[in-house]
């Protein structure tokens, strides 16, 4: 009896202990049956900031009638891909709507973690107005006929330059090197800037490879052949790599380039350290915002990305990718999440998002007086550039591995002078082919 009493007493103590612990860790009380919260995960940057007034608008205008409350989260850019991957694979159901890069779509979609939007689009085409999107942007997340996201932002690197210092921005990549020399103080004591330009070399990110493509493609190079064999170790690849290598060797770019990605590259221009940069179109909103760029907001212009002189014209290509909105297949409110997604991607909301700093690839944006007022000419100019010269990477699940690890490592090695360009590209090509062969992609 004593032992039973002791056991009973101890179980009671344990129950109290668990209850005390549980009281601190249990979530909020269950919501009313008619009130559903949908979590939208953006990321820290101009896109997240641009989405805030949109979310506020939903909660003010749409929430009372739909019973859906929208909550936005903005995690850090660092480790963002890993975060989304972990969230989707955990099948926790949160967040309901994610904001993935198109290059992440093939592999997370293969795991069945994203909702195919096609059935919803077919059921209510008026809600989505797919014909208003740029087809290249929609195609970026269409895998084997399944539409896994709708593009919220379209990204392409363009040229930003100090129009108070440069009358004619560089039109070719050779012009880039010449002009970078001219605006680097260690090479030209009279240069008004410390460096000519920057080089996007951040370790573990795809940008070094993506910006390199804008030099490689005009030289006539292709990333892969029809059988998905890498074909970068060629004369075009060497010439493209030599541009970055020359900039580093001449001291035309701040070092180390492996620490430079979006914020650092943009800051180098907006604080007057460099004369021109190759940077994503999303930066334009920040550049012309005097509260963020008080000194140089009026002194920076944009221009087409440089290319190669060919037959009297400039042959150029833009690497294009999208960041879209996708629905988590484990969401507990898939239908509601799709409904919110459709509203967020609607033409009317897309205009407001673009005015706030986004870049939704809808044709109706370019006819919008509201957009023209804040960015006169910019959106229509972007549309022209994409239409003429935009190019996507192959839609392979291996692209993050290829760009973030393999190409990043070897391009940085070549730029730093530690590898000869052909050696670096040959090694990269061999590793890429080994990877694609191992995964059964190559035909």
């Amino acid at each position: 009896m004593n032992r039973i009493r002791m056991l009973g007493r101890n179980l009671g103590v344990a129950a109290v202990a668990f209850a005390l612990l549980g009281a601190g860790t249990l979530g909020a009380p269950a919501q009313a049956a008619t009130n559903i919260t949908i979590t939208l995960q953006m990321w820290s940057g101009p896109e997240g900031v641009a989405m805030r007034p949109i979310v506020a608008r939903w909660n003010k205008e749409m929430s009372p009638g739909t019973g859906i409350t929208l909550v936005e989260t903005e995690p850090s850019r660092d480790g963002y891909d890993a975060l989304i991957t972990s969230q989707l694979l955990s099948r926790s159901g949160t967040p309901d709507i994610v904001f993935p890069f198109n290059w992440d779509i093939p592999r997370v979609a293969s795991a069945g973690t994203l909702v195919d939007l096609n059935p919803y689009i077919r059921k209510d085409p008026g809600a989505f107005k797919m014909s208003d999107f740029f087809s290249v942007a929609v195609d970026a997340a269409n895998i084997n006929g399944h539409q896994y996201d709708l593009p919220l932002d379209m990204s392409l690197p363009i040229l930003y330059y100090r129009k108070d210092l440069i009358q004619t921005p560089p039109a070719t990549w050779d012009d880039v090197v010449t002009m970078a020399d001219q605006f680097t103080r260690s090479r030209n004591a009279k240069s008004p800037t410390l460096y000519g330009t920057t080089l996007y070399g951040r370790t573990g990110r795809a940008e070094p490879a993506q910006l390199w493509e804008e030099i490689y493609w005009p030289f006539g190079g292709e990333l892969m052949d029809a059988g998905f064999h890498s074909t970068i170790a060629n004369e075009a690849g060497v010439k493209a790599t030599e541009i970055g290598r020359t900039l580093v060797a001449h001291g035309d770019v701040p070092q180390p380039v492996t620490n430079y990605e979006y914020p650092q590259v943009l800051a180098a221009l907006t604080n007057g350290s460099v004369a021109f940069i190759q940077e994503w179109n999303a930066a334009w909103g920040q550049i012309i915002d005097k509260s963020q760029d008080p000194t140089y907001a009026d002194k920076i212009g944009y221009a087409p990305i440089p290319g190669i002189a060919s037959g009297g014209t400039i042959k150029r290509f833009y690497h294009v990718h999208t960041i879209g909105l996708a629905v988590n297949a484990s969401s507990k409110h898939v239908a509601e999440a799709v409904r919110v997604l459709a509203w967020l991607e609607s033409p009317d909301v897309a205009v407001e998002y673009t005015v706030a700093g986004g870049n939704t690839p809808r044709k109706s944006i370019f006819n919008s007086a509201a957009v023209a007022k804040v960015r006169p000419g910019f959106q229509s100019w972007l549309a022209q550039q994409v239409s003429c010269c935009g190019q996507l990477e192959p839609k392979l699940a291996e692209m993050p591995d290829i760009d973030d690890l393999i190409m990043n490592k070897y391009l940085n090695g070549a730029w730093a002078g530690q590898l000869q360009p052909m050696d670096a590209l040959s090694k990269a090509q061999a590793e890429i082919n080994a990877l694609l062969k191992k995964d059964g992609v190559q035909k």
Binding site: M6, L7, R9, N10, V13, A14, A17, F18, L21, D78, G79, D81, A82, T85, L89, P106, R107, V108, S110, A111, G112, L194, G201, R202, T203, G204, R205, G251, P254, Q255, P256, T258, N259, Q264, A268, N271, S273, A397, E398, P400, D401, D404, L405, N408, K409, N412, G413, A416, Q418
Partner: protein
């Protein structure tokens, strides 16, 4: 014997009544851990097991499957293939080499600096308490914040560190900056040393305070100088504390990830790709969770072996005496 009844022993002397047998080992354990003071620990023990043992078992399981992001929910069993791939991967061995350099270099310097600081602060000093508080401040900050702080401080364009080094030491890092290819590994080690020397200092300082004063006085009376006192009295008496401090820091230095991820993410190229960074890249950039899990298990085995060696080397005398 009836169910639930204890076996009967011989009658208790003088009573004629049968005596209960001595409680078995399980019963003694239950009686001990069923006391309220232990029962209150059950919830936190359960949670700790959940957040440490369960993930380890999950990683161990994944290491035997060909888990990638694409086939995460339908991965095939591959046996030891992930381990074989890792052991044949040059990048794995390179990252292990980088980790060894990082651990040996950082922990050695942290120990020497921590010991030096502890010896200095052990003397009578004005404002000692404030000094100690300032000295231990770095280790109170999350490593990821230390990483972001130094990312700004070390920037060649805006950072004060390269500026002051160029001004006063006339050293410009070859134009690459402190995080350039040739200097990245020593720089991230320096950041680690800056943050974790206080840990060594705290333990060694506490150890010095417990040293018997009469032993030190006797050594002085015998004419022992500072160096002889240090080598023959102080350090031997401090050995258990040194063992604990070095062991903890060694294990921690193998696991370092946050600050390196923020500062360089393993770059330039693979200059600062330690084993933890390699695991992160294998899992989330290459999308190969199976191989990453296998490398994690190999890391646990390696750190366990190193910890055992350290314990034997540093605690050897104590263990021999105890036995």
């Amino acid at each position: 014997m009836g169910a639930g009844k204890l076996p009967l022993a011989a009658a208790s002397p003088g009573t004629g009544l049968p005596a209960l047998a001595a409680p078995g080992r399980m019963s003694r354990l239950w009686a001990r851990f069923a006391q309220p003071r232990y029962v209150l620990l059950w919830p936190i023990t359960f949670i700790l097991l959940l957040i440490t043992v369960y993930p380890f078992l999950q990683a161990l399981r994944e290491s035997f499957y060909g888990v990638t992001i694409q086939n995460y929910f339908s991965a095939p069993f591959v046996g030891l293939q992930n381990y074989a791939m890792a052991l044949q991967d040059q990048a794995f061995w390179a990252s292990l080499g980088t980790s060894l350099i990082y651990v040996v270099g950082s922990v050695s310097v942290e120990f020497l600096l921590g010991l030096g600081l502890a010896l200095l602060v052990s003397r009578p000093l004005w404002g000692k308490r404030i000094l100690i508080t300032l000295l231990i401040a770095p280790m109170l900050v999350a490593p990821v914040l230390i990483g972001y702080s130094f990312l700004l401080q070390l920037d060649p364009l805006y950072g004060p560190v390269p500026y002051w080094i160029a001004q006063y030491l006339r050293f410009t890092f070859g134009g690459q900056g402190p995080l350039g290819p040739a200097y990245a590994l020593p720089t991230v080690m320096a950041v680690d040393i800056w943050q974790w020397t206080p840990f060594m200092f705290v333990l060694l300082y506490a150890g010095l305070q417990t040293q018997p004063a009469e032993v030190v006085e006797a050594a002085h009376v015998d004419g022992a100088g500072f160096l002889r006192l240090l080598v023959q009295i102080t350090l031997p008496l401090l050995r258990p504390v040194i063992a604990v401090a070095v062991l903890f820091r060694t294990v921690d230095a193998f696991r370092v990830f946050d600050s390196i991820h923020v500062l360089t993410d393993g770059g330039p190229e693979t200059a600062t790709t330690t084993i933890s960074v390699f695991i992160d890249h294998t899992a989330f950039l290459a999308g190969n969770f199976g191989e990453a899990a296998a490398v994690s298990v190999l890391l646990i085995i390696l750190v366990t072996i190193i910890a055992r060696v350290l314990v034997r080397a540093l605690f050897g005398q104590q263990i021999a005496v105890t036995r």
